[in-house]
Amino acid sequence: MKHEFHHLQAAHCENGVTTNLLRTIGIDNMTEPLAFGIGSGLFYVQLPFLKINNGPAIAFRTMPGLIFKRTCTSLGIPVFRKKFSSKESAKKYLDECLERGQPVGCQVGVYYLTYFPKEYRFHFNAHNMIVFGKEGDRYLISDPVMETTTSLSDYELERVRFAKGPFAPKGQIYYPKESRIITDDVMKKAIVTGIKRNVNHMIRIPGNIAGVKGIANTGRKIKKWRDKLGPKTAGLYLAQLVRMQEEIGTGGGGFRYIYAAFLQQAHKFHPADELLDISKTFTKAGDIWRNAAVQAAGIYKGRIGSQADYDVMGNYLIEISEIEKEAFKALSKIKWHS
């Protein structure tokens, strides 16, 4: 049985899944930037001691799963989420959902995701998609990073739902349990909650590995990479930084641009003019992330590579850290009651 499902492409997978699932329960004014902002998606962390694909472990957004959870919770929408120990029960449960017309968010690994190009298939287990129907043996898939919907066979879907390794999805599915009427007032409150939480995560988090302090910290480390690691490994590390920054569709500090878009949309619900100015600041931060990526590419492609070039690279991050700190401070000062 095929159900009416409207696929919207997004820059980032979890934003997209969240937006599309909320739209299926009638929240038509949900957008990717709103989902990202209400879910407090903007983040930065470089985890010490940990290596991913033999490079530094850096994330530019919040932990997988949280954007959906926070956005729903802030809007007062109950969430259903379930992991499975057996492949059979995972499939059975999914089929039951689809039979009653319930589109389902799925966490999957991309290594065996057949429609992805080979170059993108690493053991990355925090990709998200919606399964919205079944035709014969084929599951109908809405992958938010794709322009159109696609499909996977029984076996293909099982393999990605039960990928192993870090963040193993264990067949995890999720969806909004029931709908609520979202008035402008509810949306307004959710937006404020999302912004306040993001302020805390970026400028009030203790330690110097996360938030704006984490960005500056990485910047200072980069300046030492050339001597400490040698040009080859330093280049690989920078390439990894760019790849983490440039997840699919988030090109050039893209998460910062999405956040800037969120603040513009927030302004429609909450006409505090500061929001528009701060939006511009995030655009600026995104632009410098972009410049930093270009500088990094110059180094890892061997066009440049002196210590001065590494210093420029590190200083970009230190500058970004300052700009984002000011932006979040300004957000923390907005008077919301009006």
Binding site: P33, G165, A260, A297
Partner: protein, 135 residues
């Protein structure tokens, strides 16, 4: 970033789909646009793959030299690390590392080899000989 500045370069993802990018229009409002890719990003990915190919080649040479068992080669070929091999096979990480010694690998029973072969998506014969024919 302004809408006109959105890069439209070639990238690996372009074979599959264009990506959504957020940028500002002439009046400063955010909007989305499709992009075919960005050179900077494509180069980072290329570099990562060159490194992987190098690691695979090194692993193969080590196996040929008798310094490691084929498990090392297949681990690299499948972009895994001992932790991921352990997750797919159910063996402890230190067991996986031990099985990477040629002398230990030679004595492994068929059932153990089968588990590895399954995890690497090859046959037991291919696992032993490193002869894989893939499209």
């Amino acid at each position: 970033m302004k809408k006109e500045e959105i890069p439209q370069d070639d990238g690996a993802l372009n074979k599959l789909t264009k990506e959504v990018v957020y940028a500002v229009d002439d009046s400063g409002n955010y909007t989305t646009e499709l992009s075919t890719g960005w050179e900077v990003k494509a180069e980072a990915l290329d570099l990562a793959w060159n490194e992987i190919d190098q690691r695979i080649a090194n692993a193969k040479q080590k196996v040929i030299n008798g310094e490691a068992s084929p498990l090392l080669y297949f681990m690299e070929l499948r972009l895994m690390d001992p932790g991921i091999v352990s997750a797919y096979t159910g063996f402890w990480k230190w067991t996986v590392k031990r099985h990477m010694k040629p002398s230990v690998f030679k004595k492994l029973p068929e059932t153990t080899l089968k588990k590895y072969a399954e995890a690497f998506n090859v046959t037991v014969e291919e696992l032993k000989t490193m002869n894989v024919h893939e499209a």
